[in-house]
């Protein structure tokens, strides 16, 4: 049990985690407060996991990478400087570095799973069509170079601003704009190709 929780339960006071800003949580995490860490985890785990899932393309890997990311957050909380960078940007930067290290070590940056298991296969046609669209997107994202994929995911999936994407990737805003433009065009082309390939297969 964390110190904060123990004090809160002893005094009968509820820790105001939901009212705390991310920066306040980070300050408490830096002091070793596990409850604050749990609060931050609850706020950001889904997003970080989603980013890692799309970036690495493997479910089992992204669970491990998400764990490694948040352990680094726990250990490096003291090095976070509020005001210089947003907590979400800092988290994404750590997650991105963890993922890129992993991909380089594994040497399979381009060997992302070509397919994603179809969900709701037995469901109605609309659900099946959505599942196939997701699968096409997954395959198309896997075919993008890592830089373009990261930029697109951070901007369009995670909703970061261009300067924040630049901070995560450690490049200029202009370079981010270029990556986004080229990546999006290529992604559309790839998805279009897969669409037409799928249609042709369906016709055959």
């Amino acid at each position: 049990m964390s110190v904060a929780l123990a004090i809160a339960s002893a005094t009968g006071a509820e820790p105001l985690l939901s009212a705390d800003s991310d920066e306040a949580l980070m300050a408490r995490i830096a002091a070793g407060d596990e409850q604050a860490f749990e609060g931050l985890l609850g706020r950001h785990l889904d997003r970080i996991h989603h980013y890692l899932r799309r970036l690495t393309g493997r479910q089992a890997d992204c669970d491990d990478l998400a764990q490694e990311t948040f352990i680094r957050v726990w250990l490096k909380a003291r090095s976070f400087r509020p005001g210089r960078v947003k907590v979400s940007t800092w988290l994404h930067r750590i997650a991105h570095n963890v993922a890129v290290d992993h991909l380089r070590k594994a040497g399979r940056a381009a060997r992302i799973e070509a397919t994603e298991p179809l969900r709701d296969e037995a469901g109605p046609d609309a659900l099946r069509q959505q599942a196939e669209e997701r699968q096409r997107l997954h395959g198309a994202l896997g075919a993008l170079p890592e830089g373009q994929r990261s930029a697109i995911l951070l901007r369009h999936q995670q909703g970061l601003s261009n300067p924040d994407v630049a901070a995560v990737l450690g490049i200029s805003v202009r370079a981010v704009e270029s990556l986004l433009s080229r990546g999006r065009r290529r992604l559309m082309t790839l998805m279009g190709d897969r669409d037409s390939a799928g249609n042709q297969e369906g016709m055959l």
Partner: protein, 114 residues
């Protein structure tokens, strides 16, 4: 041709945005797995984090200062040994000079033939 494709491309772009922005949930067991696997924030870890923070802007003096500590210690040690060595040498010279002159002027000095 392009004009005919524009609405289709626009719809595809919108659909792409929708797909990318779809919500996602991490496996429920992952939270407890992360919490159970948390290492302790040891003093050494905190020291190294302080010494070499991830965000190094303006804090380059920390590793530089840490590198200077053994250097300063070496200087101090070297200076101390030097001074001490000269003192002891001076003492030895004085002792030898005194002993030598003592034997020369002493009644017990000389070769004893007188």
């Amino acid at each position: 041709m392009n004009e005919r494709n524009e609405p289709f491309a626009g719809r595809r772009a919108d659909r792409l945005d929708e797909l990318l922005a779809e919500p996602h949930a991490a496996p429920p067991a992952l939270t407890s797995r992360i919490l159970e696997g948390l290492p302790s924030q040891s003093r050494w870890q905190r020291f190294f984090d302080w010494l070499a923070p991830v965000d190094r802007d303006g804090r380059l003096w920390r590793p530089v200062a840490a590198a200077l500590v053994p250097l300063a210690f070496g200087f101090a040690l070297g200076l101390g040994v030097g001074v001490q060595g000269e003192d002891s040498l001076y003492d030895d010279v004085l002792l030898l000079a005194f002993t030598d002159s003592y034997f020369e002027t002493s009644a017990y000095g000389g070769d004893g033939d007188d």
